[in-house]
């Protein structure tokens, strides 16, 4: 008799274990689903455009350090105020560089600047394909290409 009781209790405990496992799983599923919905909303709000430039360092604060600039397909950078991205820095040339999106990649090309354009610390002498995460240096302004 007590053997039967034990077996019933054991079965109950065993089912309890599996039930707890499924409750936890259910909790995860709910969190994932909620997160998915909010991520979708976020994406709609923020992910427009093909890339951004995050300004890491800017001694004269134009563009301000810490800001992010949304990019169009063709961007000119330099000290001339008519550039798409105006770089106020003593070491930048008036028409310093072009940052363009062609096909499926970003390219940077120096426009004959005095002090050169640097990608990840190397001075470039021809148009260079960029990946997201690469660092650009125009004069003393350091920027990173991001998605």
């Amino acid at each position: 008799m007590s053997g039967d009781l034990l077996r019933v209790l054991l079965l109950g405990l065993q089912l309890g274990f599996v039930a707890v496992l499924y409750l936890i799983l259910f909790g995860f599923a709910r969190s994932l689903l909620r997160d998915l919905r909010s991520a979708e909303a976020q994406q709609l709000a923020s992910r427009v455009g093909i890339g951004r430039l995050s300004v890491l360092e800017s001694p004269d604060d134009e563009p301000p350090a810490g800001t992010t600039i949304a990019l169009g397909p063709i961007n000119s950078l330099g000290r001339n105020v008519n550039n798409t991205i105006y770089v106020e820095d003593d070491f930048a040339s008036a028409n310093h560089a072009m940052l363009t999106f062609r096909g499926r990649s970003w390219f940077i090309e120096d426009q004959g600047s005095t002090n050169g354009t640097y990608v990840n610390g190397h001075r470039i002498d021809r148009p260079v394909a960029l990946s997201f995460g690469d660092e650009l240096m125009i004069g003393r302004v350091r920027m990173r290409l991001e998605r």
């Binding site: 405990l13 707890v20 909790g27 599923a29 994932l32 997160d35 995050s54 997201f132 991001e146 998605r147």
Partner: protein, 445 residues
């Protein structure tokens, strides 16, 4: 140092049910084995949950902003694994280290502690990806060094040369080579992605990557086949190559690269089958384990019997016969889960892995730079493929290879490596969250 608290309520809420799950699993096992209604020793169970909660507390104290579901997911998978190991402990030879004799569950718990420390160190300690990204060739050299060391100084266990003796403990460098490979490929592809997607050689109708990129791919393929043959470690070879192809596809979006890789792998496997008797033996056992059920096919046959006994709802913890399978606590732990918890329990475990993979890919999608995204994809693919290969091996869907089920199988190197990978994923998501915070802060100003 200024303490910056960041509450992680979701993480805590999802960790707390472990306080019920793990001890309950221990109680069921004890009641079934002893035949009396008493809780039995629960130190390990509560010790495990305490470890997870301490890890959570340290993340909170350090102001970590990383993903909040990773730790609870890993905690639940590992908790279920500890319950199964505790159930298998009486039937598996205990380990001895530092003059102590510990059963497999206790040893595993010790490794969980080591793994969590490593995870926290990586998740909190890495300030940016510079250490990983800029020293990628150094890491590659370290990986190849480990590989060579293992190939020549390692010792064999059960026909595979995987172990490196380090005094009181032995490690399996293969587990760490996996992580190094992911770091290296992520760095390499992040730097060369634009060129990889651009030009291509055309041979007839198929497009082939340009030569400077085709060569590393072939070199890696050669290395992988060397591991398979020299160390008789087919699982590891399949895993490394799978990681590489996944990352290459994610970085370039070119199906042809994957196709070429798969063709290479199939051709290489076929050649290995024809040339090397131990590879052929594995495949023959897989095709028909019942041809030699008492000798060569013993392990897979026992595994299949265990799955059959388990059925839909399982035999119940401590009530099945998983100990009848050789190496049940490492290679065949999934069969043990399926026997004692049934299809229902095994399915729950796989769903937890699925949720983990989902989370990992989400971290990759949100990452701000190419390297971090590829790193997250590679780590996730590694854990996913590892699970897939060993579970499919247990189910006789693919030839069985001796790799571990992450967080579940017994094994120090595996647990440690898996936790380092979780740490890296946490680190990537932390840096993403910080970047978003900075932008939000500037917008509000």
């Amino acid at each position: 140092m200024r303490l910056t608290l960041a509450w992680r309520w979701t993480e805590l809420r999802m960790l707390l049910p472990l306080l019920l799950l793990v001890p309950l699993g221990f109680v069921v096992t004890h009641v079934a084995e002893a035949g009396v209604l008493e809780p039995g020793p629960l130190t390990l169970a509560f010790g495990y949950v305490a470890l997870m909660l301490v890890a959570h507390a340290i993340l909170v104290l350090s102001g970590h902003r990383g993903d909040q579901l990773l730790l609870p997911l890993v905690g639940t998978i590992g908790g279920a694994g500890l319950v199964i190991l505790n159930r298998l402990a009486p039937d598996v030879e205990p380990t001895q280290a530092f003059g102590l004799q510990l059963d497999v569950a206790a040893t595993q718990l010790a490794w969980f502690a080591v793994g969590l420390v490593a995870m926290l160190a990586v998740a909190i300690g890495l300030r940016d990806d510079g250490l990983l990204r800029h020293y990628k060739y150094t890491w590659a050299a370290v990986g190849i060094g480990l590989l060579v060391l293992t190939a020549f100084l390692g010792y064999e266990v059960n026909g595979a040369r995987l172990w490196l003796d380090l005094g009181p403990i032995a490690i399996q460098p293969g587990e760490f080579i996996k992580i190094i490979l992911v770091v290296f490929i992520a760095g390499y592809l992040a730097d060369n992605r634009a060129l990889l997607t651009g030009a291509s050689l055309r041979i007839g109708p198929i497009r082939v990557p340009p030569l400077p990129y085709l060569l590393p791919m072939l070199a890696l393929f050669g290395l992988v086949m060397l591991i398979a043959v020299r160390q008789n470690d087919l699982g590891q070879a399949l895993l490394l190559f799978g990681i590489f192809l996944t990352m290459l596809f994610v970085a370039t979006g070119r199906r042809s690269y994957v196709l070429i890789g798969l063709l290479l792998f199939v051709a290489g496997s076929f050649a290995a089958y024809k040339l090397f008797p131990h590879v052929a033996a594995r495949v023959d056992i897989w095709i028909d384990p019942f041809a030699d059920p008492t000798n060569k096919g013993f392990q897979p046959v026992r595994g299949l019997f265990a799955l059959a006994r388990g059925g839909l709802f399982g035999e119940g913890l401590g009530q099945g016969l998983p100990q009848s399978i050789p190496y049940v606590h490492t290679d065949f732990i999934f069969a043990a889960v399926a026997e004692e918890l049934g299809l229902v329990g095994a399915f729950a475990l796989l769903a937890l892995f699925l949720a983990f993979v989902f989370r990992g890919l989400r971290i990759a999608m949100l990452a701000r730079d190419e390297f971090s995204a590829l790193l997250a994809v590679g780590l996730t693919a590694s854990l996913a493929l590892q699970t897939l290969i060993i579970v499919a091996g247990n189910l006789k869907l693919v030839p069985l290879t001796g790799i571990t089920l992450p967080f579940v199988s017994y094994g120090g190197s595996s647990v440690l490596a898996s936790f380092v990978m979780v740490g890296l994923l946490l680190n990537v998501s932390h840096r993403t969250a910080r970047a978003v915070d900075r932008e939000q802060g500037l917008k509000d100003r």
